[in-house]
């Protein structure tokens, strides 16, 4: 259902889908942002 919905929305130009990287994320800036965000909850 999600794939069909996203496919339809993308076809209509209502969203842009950017490929995710296949490898685990190791960007320290991103991880620090997530950590700070979680700790601030």
């Amino acid at each position: 259902v999600v794939r069909v919905l996203l496919g339809d929305l993308a076809e209509e130009g209502m969203l842009r889908i950017v490929s995710a990287q296949r490898q685990p994320v190791s960007d320290h800036r991103l991880l620090r942002m997530v950590l700070d965000g979680l700790e601030s909850l």
Partner: protein, 201 residues
């Protein structure tokens, strides 16, 4: 609506996104955990357990369970205007494992939930994330009435590497879930440091 990948490089107006997977066996509390911390009403794909799952889904120890996730759970936490964390709960049963490959793409890491009454149920998740090279931690959901074990005992039972964190949690409690996610992200940071050192060495 734009979707940005988890690379910390969101452009102007496009939030940077990160993804964490919540995995584990059938009935371990994945849906509950996502619901406890998500800022939105989680997208759930729960369906009633029917008599067709008798003999297939092992409800031993979770006799009160009447529904099961058939695709995924989806929750969201926005920290600032430019950072959004997505939580994806994976379906627990073997017949839905084909979903895991898609769900795990681009994930920071995974929380594998364990129930000490059915500890073997998380072996499949551990095997999967070890093979995929995705960092993970174990979150033991401390069910009411379940026997308590020390983390070291659980580590031995699951034959985990000494560096894999084990966190005790209550999947219903937002603060408890938050602590689990913090443990995961801290571990991923140290894990990627270590991986970098190995690559450089």
């Amino acid at each position: 609506m734009d979707l940005s990948r988890s690379d910390g490089a969101g452009g102007a107006g496009v939030p940077t996104t990160a993804k964490i997977l919540i995995a584990g066996g059938f009935g371990v509390g994945k849906t509950t955990l996502v619901g406890a911390i998500s800022e939105i009403r989680p997208l759930r794909t729960e369906e009633p357990l029917s008599d067709r799952s008798v003999g297939i889904d092992d409800t031993h120890g979770v006799g009160a369970k009447s529904t099961t996730t058939v695709a995924m759970d989806f929750g969201r936490i926005s920290f600032q205007s430019q950072l959004v964390l997505y939580l994806f709960g994976t379906p627990g049963q073997e017949r839905f494992w084909f979903m895991w490959d898609d769900l795990s793409v681009g994930a920071i890491g995974a929380v594998i939930m364990a129930d000490t009454r059915r500890i073997a149920d998380c072996f499949a998740s551990i095997d999967y994330f070890e093979r995929a090279g995705t960092p993970f931690i174990i979150a033991v959901n401390c069910f009411d009435g379940a026997r308590r074990f020390e983390p070291d005992d659980i580590r031995v039972a699951l034959t985990l590497n000494p560096d894999v964190p084990i966190a005790m949690c209550d999947a219903r409690d937002r603060d408890s879930v938050k602590k689990v996610l913090v443990v995961l992200v801290r571990y991923v940071m140290s894990w990627s440091n270590q991986a970098g050192r190995v690559a450089l060495g």
